[in-house]
C-alpha cells in the first residue's frame, strides 16, 4: 500500500505563499470529503497549522496525483496560481512519509525545535479525520506510533527543555521566583510589543492582576482593556511598585524610569518578598543598581536573549538523540511498507531451500543404494534433509525480519536478491497486488 504526504511548510515556502494553503479547522471536513470522493477507499488526515498544511494519505499515489491533491489544499481551490504554488509543495511516500509524520509530531520539523503545540495539533487533525470517517486502520497505526514516539522524544530527551522566545522567558524567570502566578500582580511600564507579548504569556499562566502604566494614559488604558488590567497614572509608578511582584518595563525613555532608591523603598514595604524586574527597553529603564538589592531580581533584554540562545542550543544538542528515537519508533510501522516485500522474499527463500532439497533428494533416491531402502527409511531421510535446510535458513529468515523492523530492509533485500538470484521486479509486482487487495 502507498502511504504518502503532500504538503507545504515554512521549510518550502514563505508566509505569503503558505497563507494561500492555510485552512481553517471548519474547512477541513469539506476538503477531506472532497478528496475522499475523488479517491474512493483512501485514508486521509489533513493537518493545517500556521507553519504547515499537509495531507497524509493511504492508498493514493501522491506523486502521480500531486496536482489534484494540491488543489484540495488551497484556500481557493480555483487559484490561478496553483501551478506556481505547486512547486513549493513536497511529496513524500512510504517510509519517508512516515518519518516525516514522526518528525512533525515529535517537533523535530518545527520552526522552533521542541515546541510541543504541534503534537496537540496533529492529534486534533486525527480526531477530525476520525469524525469524518477518513481515518482507517493504517492511518491509525501510523499516527498512534507517531504519538508514542513523540511522547518518548519529549520525555527522554532535552528537546523541550527551557523556553526559547524572549517573551516567554519572562514566565520562566517568574516561575523560578514565585510558586503560583495566579495570585501575583504584574506591572507593565510602557506598552512595547515584546512587553505585551510577555504579558500575554503571563496571562496564559493565570496572572489576573495587571497594572498598566504609560506616559500616554490613553495608550495605557487601551492595553489595559485588551488584557483585562487596570491603567494607572504614570506618576504613581513608585507608589505601585511595592504592590507589583513582576514589573516589565519597555518605555522608549532615554533615561532611567525605575531608580534603585524607589526599588529599595518598595522592597522594604514588601518585607523581603522578592520582586522580579524585567527591563526590555533599550536604553535601559531600570537602574542596574537595583539588582544589587536583596530579594530584587533584575533582568535585561540581553539576559533574556542569552537564556533563549542557551535553551535553543540545549534543544539542538538533543536533536540527534530524538532522531534515534524516531528511527526506533519507525520500526513499529515498517511492516506497513515492507510487509509485502518481506513476505515475498521469505517465500522465495523457502521455495529456494525446498527446491534444492527436493532436487538433491531425487538424485540421491535414484541411486541404487537408497532406492532399495524401505519406504519408512526413505521418508526419514526426506524429513532429515528438510530439517537441515530449515535450520540453515532459520538464521537468514530472522535477520531479514529484523532488517524489516529496523529500517535496513532495502539493503538486506538487495543482498538476498543477489545471493539467491531472485528477481526484484517480481517482489514489487507482488506488493502492488497486495496493495490493490488492501484498498479494495
Amino acid at each position: 500500500m502507498i502511504v504518502s504526504v503532500v504538503g507545504i511548510s515554512f521549510h518550502s515556502a514563505p508566509l505569503e505563499l503558505r497563507e494561500q494553503a492555510s485552512l481553517r479547522s471548519t474547512e477541513v471536513p469539506m476538503r477531506l470529503q472532497g478528496i475522499r470522493a475523488e479517491f474512493p477507499g483512501s485514508e486521509l488526515v489533513l493537518l493545517s497549522t500556521c507553519n504547515r498544511t499537509e495531507l497524509y494519505s493511504v492508498g493514493i499515489d501522491a506523486t502521480a496525483h500531486k496536482d489534484r491533491l494540491i488543489r484540495h489544499l488551497l484556500r481557493d481551490m480555483n487559484n490561478p496560481q496553483a501551478a506556481e504554488l505547486g512547486r513549493h509543495f513536497y511529496v513524500k511516500q512510504d517510509i519517508q512519509a512516515a518519518e516525516h509524520l514522526f518528525a512533525v509530531a515529535s517537533s523535530l520539523d518545527a520552526m522552533v525545535v521542541g515546541e510541543t503545540e504541534i503534537l496537540g495539533q496533529v492529534k486534533q487533525a486525527l480526531l477530525l479525520a476520525g469524525d469524518n470517517q477518513t481515518a482507517g486502520k493504517v492511518v491509525l497505526t501510523l499516527f498512534q506510533n507517531a504519538f508514542k514516539t513523540a511522547k518518548r522524544v519529549h520525555s527522554e530527551t532535552d528537546i523541550c527543555r527551557g523556553r526559547v522566545s524572549v517573551a516567554s522567558l519572562a514566565v520562566e524567570f517568574a516561575e523560578k521566583i514565585f510558586d503560583n502566578l495566579i495570585a501575583k500582580t504584574v506591572m507593565i511600564v510602557g506598552a512595547g510589543e515584546t512587553a505585551e507579548l510577555a504579558l500575554k504569556n503571563l496571562i496564559d499562566r493565570g496572572t489576573r492582576d495587571i497594572l498598566v502604566l504609560n506616559r500616554t494614559h490613553a495608550h495605557g488604558q487601551h492595553l489595559a482593556e485588551r488584557c483585562g488590567g487596570r491603567a494607572v497614572q504614570f506618576d504613581l509608578l513608585e507608589d505601585y511598585l511595592a504592590k507589583a511582584d513582576i514589573v516589565i518595563s519597555s518605555t522608549s525613555a532615554p533615561h532611567l524610569v525605575i531608580r534603585a532608591d524607589a526599588v529599595r523603598r518598595a522592597i522594604q514595604t514588601r518585607r523581603g518578598r522578592p520582586i522580579l524586574l524585567i527591563d526590555i527597553a533599550v536604553p535601559r529603564d531600570i537602574d542596574p543598581e537595583a539588582g544589587l538589592l536583596d530579594n530584587v531580581y533584575v533582568y535585561t533584554i540581553d539576559d533574556l536573549q542569552r537564556l533563549a540562545a542557551d535553551n535553543l542550543s540545549k534543544r539542538q544538542e538533543a536533536v540527534d538523540a530524538a532522531w534515534r528515537i524516531v528511527r526506533e519508533g519507525l520500526s513499529g510501522v515498517m511492516p506497513l511498507f515492507d510487509g509485502g516485500g518481506l513476505r515475498t522474499v521469505l517465500r522465495n527463500v523457502d521455495e529456494y531451500g525446498r527446491r534444492i532439497c527436493e532436487t538433491a533428494l531425487q538424485k540421491a533416491m535414484a541411486k541404487e543404494k537408497l532406492a532399495t531402502l524401505p519406504e519408512a527409511s526413505r521418508e526419514e531421510i526426506r524429513e532429515l534433509a528438510s530439517k537441515i535446510v530449515s535450520k540453515m535458513l532459520a538464521g537468514p529468515r530472522e535477520s531479514l525480519k529484523r532488517a524489516s523492523r529496523n529500517g535496513d530492509w532495502e539493503h538486506y533485500a538487495g543482498v538476498v536478491n543477489d545471493l539467491f538470484g531472485f528477481d526484484p521486479k517480481e517482489q514489487g509486482k507482488d506488493r502492488d497486488d497486495q496493495d490493490d487487495r488492501t484498498i479494495s
Binding site: R161, F178, D179, R271
Partner: protein, 283 residues
C-alpha cells in the same frame, strides 16, 4: 558478628549512595536518577529502622545508648519529614543538599563511636521516650528547614549571578522554598516546645530541678528554643521573608547541631544518652 552492625553499615552505605545519586541528578538534570536516589534513601531508612527495632527488642527500651543510635534516630526523622514534605510540595533538588548532609552525619556517628550498641541507660518511662522523640523530631524538622534555606540561598545566588544551569533548573522556586521553610520552622518550634514541657514534667517528677537547670544541655536547648521563637516571630508576626531570614535559618542549623551533639563534647551533661567514650576521645 551480629546482624545489627551489618544492617547499620548497609544503611549508611545506602545513604552515601543516595547522596551521590542526588548530587549527580542535581548538577545534571535527570528524573530517573532522582528516583534511584529516592530508592537508595528508602532502602537505607529501612535498614536503619531495622537496626533500631532490633535494639528496642534487645534492650526493652528506646535505644539511644551511643552517638550512632542518636544520629540514626535523627536521620530517620529527617528522612521521614523530607518524604512527607515531598508529598505535599515538590522538593526536587533539595535532595541534592539533604542526602549528603544525612550521609555525612551518619559517617560522623560511625567514625566517632562505631555502630555497636552501648550500655543501656537507666530505665525509661513513657514521658522520657516522648520527650526524646519530640526533641529529635524537632531537630530533624528544623534541620530540613535549614537545608531548605540553603537551597533558597543557592537559588538566590543562581538568579543574581545569572547561572541558569541545571541546579537553577532543578531547584524549586524561591517562594516554594520560603513557604516550606516557614512551615517547618513553625512545626519545629511546636515540637521543641512539647519536648521542653515534657522535660519539665520529668524534672518535676524526679526532683532535683536545680541540677537540671545547671545542665549545659538545657542551656543549649534554651538557646535553640529562643532561636526558633525569633524565627517564628519573624515569619508570623513581622512577616519577614527572603534572603535575610534564609541566612538566619541556615545559621540556626549550627546552633541545633551544637545543642544536639556538640554540647556533650564541651561539658558533661545530665542528658547521659550521648556519652563521651571513656578513653576513646570521641563521644
Amino acid at each position: 558478628m551480629s546482624v545489627e552492625p551489618v544492617l547499620a553499615i548497609g544503611g549508611v552505605i545506602c545513604y552515601v549512595l543516595a547522596s551521590v545519586v542526588s548530587v549527580v541528578s542535581l548538577v545534571k538534570v535527570d528524573s530517573r536518577r532522582n528516583q534511584t536516589g529516592a530508592a537508595c534513601l528508602a532502602l537505607g531508612s529501612t535498614l536503619l529502622f531495622l537496626v533500631i527495632v532490633i535494639r528496642v527488642v534487645n534492650a526493652g527500651c528506646m535505644p539511644s545508648f551511643n552517638l550512632f543510635d542518636c544520629l540514626a534516630w535523627y536521620v530517620l526523622a529527617l528522612s521521614a519529614v523530607y518524604l512527607l514534605a515531598n508529598t505535599r510540595r515538590s522538593m526536587r533538588g533539595v535532595a541534592g543538599i539533604l542526602f549528603p548532609f544525612m550521609a555525612f552525619i551518619l559517617l560522623c556517628g560511625i567514625m566517632a563511636q562505631g555502630v555497636n550498641p552501648g550500655m543501656p541507660p537507666a530505665p525509661q518511662g513513657p514521658w522520657l521516650v516522648l520527650h526524646v522523640i519530640a526533641g529529635y523530631t524537632a531537630y530533624a524538622v528544623f534541620s530540613l528547614a535549614s537545608l531548605n534555606a540553603a537551597a533558597y540561598l543557592i537559588q538566590d545566588y543562581n538568579m543574581k549571578k545569572r547561572h541558569f544551569g541545571p541546579v537553577w533548573e532543578t531547584l524549586p522556586s524561591l517562594e516554594i522554598l520560603d513557604r516550606v521553610m516557614s512551615l517547618l520552622v513553625g512545626i519545629a518550634f511546636l515540637l521543641l516546645t512539647i519536648s521542653v514541657i515534657l522535660g519539665c514534667v520529668l524534672v518535676y517528677r524526679t526532683g532535683g530541678g536545680e541540677r537540671w537547670i545547671a545542665d549545659p544541655k538545657v542551656a543549649a536547648v534554651a538557646a535553640v528554643w529562643i532561636l526558633f521563637a525569633v524565627l517564628v516571630h519573624m515569619r508570623a508576626s513581622a512577616d519577614r521573608h527572603g534572603r535575610g531570614v534564609a541566612l538566619l535559618t541556615v545559621a540556626g542549623l549550627v546552633v541545633v547541631l551544637f545543642a544536639f551533639v556538640g554540647v556533650h563534647y564541651i561539658a558533661p551533661s545530665l542528658h547521659a544518652f550521648i556519652k563521651v567514650r571513656e578513653g576513646g576521645g570521641g563521644l
